[in-house]
């Protein structure tokens, strides 16, 4: 295992210390470094809380900031935060307008956020929940409730952040966020596994000429293993999975996210985008917003994912809005 770390057990907390040293606009609640919040809350605004395991930077905490989220529960590498931690964050970010929980559809996170929400309810903090479950590879079409949340949750963050910044009430923020989540589809591909520091060995083995289509973002193996192809046919195959669930005849405006899993050079993401744009154009879509880079990683995994959000008149301005976090800056055109 070749990593820039000290004791693997201190990896997450030392990373957080680095983040707090670098970015005074974020801080932690009380003594627990893993209760991550904005330094300056916005009075009266609906609070937006996410969370999940570490090892995915900039996900999750990286989207806490101006016109984006308000707090995040930070778990160990690929581990949920505890319900206590989520509750602490919830208490801190609540400005009287209630709190929206927005995180990936994983059992561990679900249970801990649910518990935190129940406890927050006892303290008269209203919470609602929207889940990211954009990964088309992780279930058949009818069973969308089983799908994993992967990089596409970024679009839900963007929508939630903008809706809350517009001072909408909780139910409306939740509705718009749910809509963004429902209209997002993601498909990923991995070329190499990753190593969890405390585990010290790769999560799966993959041959020199193989790729995993439909990999998760926790080092779990992919759903389908195939022989590695050139980029263009690979993108075609990935996009076919998305086009099977989205048509652009009447609603043709989309936002696209090309996400790197960690080790993949930015150059290659642009090679992927080139083909994605060709395929979408062919399918009648108009690309209104493009995001390319690392948004949800899996440590040093080599891989990429493509997410497509089908826009409408409500969502488009939310995606367009300015945003500014230590890890993500969006400047409206």
């Amino acid at each position: 295992m070749k990593k820039f770390i000290n004791d693997p057990e201190h990896f997450v907390d030392e990373m957080l210390e680095g983040i707090y040293l670098a970015h005074p606009e974020v801080t932690h609640v009380g003594d627990d470094l893993r209760c991550f919040v904005r330094t300056e809350p916005v009075p009266g605004k609906v609070g937006l809380v996410t969370g999940g395991g570490s090892g995915h930077l900039p996900l999750f905490l990286g989207f806490v900031g101006h016109n984006m989220l308000d707090g995040a529960g930070v778990g160990g590498v690929f581990q949920s935060p505890s319900s206590e931690q989520v509750l602490e964050v919830t208490r801190h970010v609540d400005q009287g307008a209630g709190v929206l929980y927005l995180y990936g559809n994983y059992t561990g996170d679900l249970m801990n956020f649910d518990m935190a929400g129940e406890l927050a309810g006892l303290e008269d903090i209203q919470t609602m929940t929207v889940l990211g479950r954009d990964d088309v590879a992780s279930s058949v079409v009818g069973e969308k409730h089983k799908r994993r949340g992967v990089a596409g949750i970024f679009f839900a963050y963007k929508a939630a952040g903008a809706a809350a910044a517009a001072m909408h009430p909780l139910a409306e923020v939740a509705r718009l966020t749910q809509k963004a989540s429902d209209r997002t589809r993601t498909i990923g591909v991995a070329l190499s596994p990753c190593i969890v520091p405390e585990v010290g060995r790769p999560s799966f083995q993959i041959g020199e000429d193989e790729m995993e289509i439909g990999m998760g973002i926790h080092g779990e193996p992919g759903i389908t293993r195939k022989t590695l192809t050139p980029a263009d046919p690979m993108v075609d195959e990935m996009m076919a999975r998305i086009l099977a669930e989205q048509t652009y005849d009447t609603e043709g405006d989309v936002a696209v996210l090309i996400n790197g899993l960690g080790a993949t050079p930015l150059e290659e993401l642009y090679v992927i985008y080139r083909r994605t744009a060709q395929v979408l154009e062919q399918a009648g879509a108009r690309i209104k917003h493009v995001f390319i880079g690392e948004f949800a990683t899996s440590m040093e995994m080599a891989g990429a994912s493509i997410s497509v959000l089908q826009l409408d008149d409500e969502l488009e301005p939310l995606i367009a809005m300015d945003a500014n976090t230590p890890f993500f800056k969006h400047i409206a055109r």
């Binding site: 949920s80 590879a137 089983k146 405390e198 779990e220 759903i223």
Partner: protein
């Protein structure tokens, strides 16, 4: 040992902590097939924390001990199995309220509560290829043994034996929950990782009362 008393509980958790530390790599590997390879870490951390909580607690009644263990696991290991184990111990703690010692009847009540807690928290059904597929037969067997008036050693041995069979049977199931669910039919033939943890749990209980440990 025909009953487990509050004096025994700290040693039981020390043993659990040792066992899960020893099983760490094996559970990591098991979770790696259709999961994220963290189960060994989660269990080792969770039970180490429970063991420590027990030591910090000093003299306390059984329900307080289980409660402390559950809370410690929830804090130290909030993954799926950590959270479910925490819930199990917290619910088991409520079932053991006012017990001076755990005989077969109380042990059965503890595991019934443990199972119900996990079922409620995880919203899984028996047959969904989760830890519940082993917890459920454990609870059933212990209840039957208690009804039949069996002693604690016999009852736990029977529960352990049944759990081993149930674990084997998870291979025939298709995962409906957790990270494995994404793999659908591919999970057939693979032993459920969380169920393996449940077997380790009941085995450690059984060996503990047999004085093997």
């Amino acid at each position: 040992m025909e009953k487990i008393t509050s004096q025994d509980i700290p040693r039981l958790f020390t043993r659990l902590s040792e066992v899960f530390a020893a099983q760490k790599e094996a559970l990591i590997t098991l979770d790696g097939h259709v999961g994220d390879s963290d189960l060994g870490l989660t269990m080792a951390k969770g039970f180490a924390a429970a063991d420590k909580a027990m030591a910090d607690l000093g003299d306390a009644p059984i329900d307080a001990q289980f409660k402390a263990a559950g809370a410690a696991i929830a804090r130290a290991a909030p993954s799926t199995m950590g959270t479910l184990m925490a819930t199990g111990f917290l619910r088991g703690s409520a079932a053991a309220k006012d017990c001076d010692a755990l005989g077969t009847a109380q042990m059965a009540q503890f595991w019934v509560a443990f199972r119900d807690g996990v079922a409620q928290r995880g919203r899984a059904q028996v047959g969904d290829k989760t830890v519940l597929d082993v917890l459920h037969p454990i609870a059933e067997t212990l209840t039957a043994q208690a009804d039949a008036g069996a002693d604690l050693t016999t009852a736990l041995d029977a529960a352990h034996a049944r759990a081993v069979t149930a674990l084997e049977e998870t291979k025939d199931l298709v995962a409906q929950h957790g990270k494995a669910a994404a793999f659908q039919e591919k999970t057939r033939g693979i032993q459920d990782a969380g169920s393996t943890v449940a077997v380790i749990l009941i085995q450690t209980f059984a060996e503990f009362v047999q004085g093997k440990s």
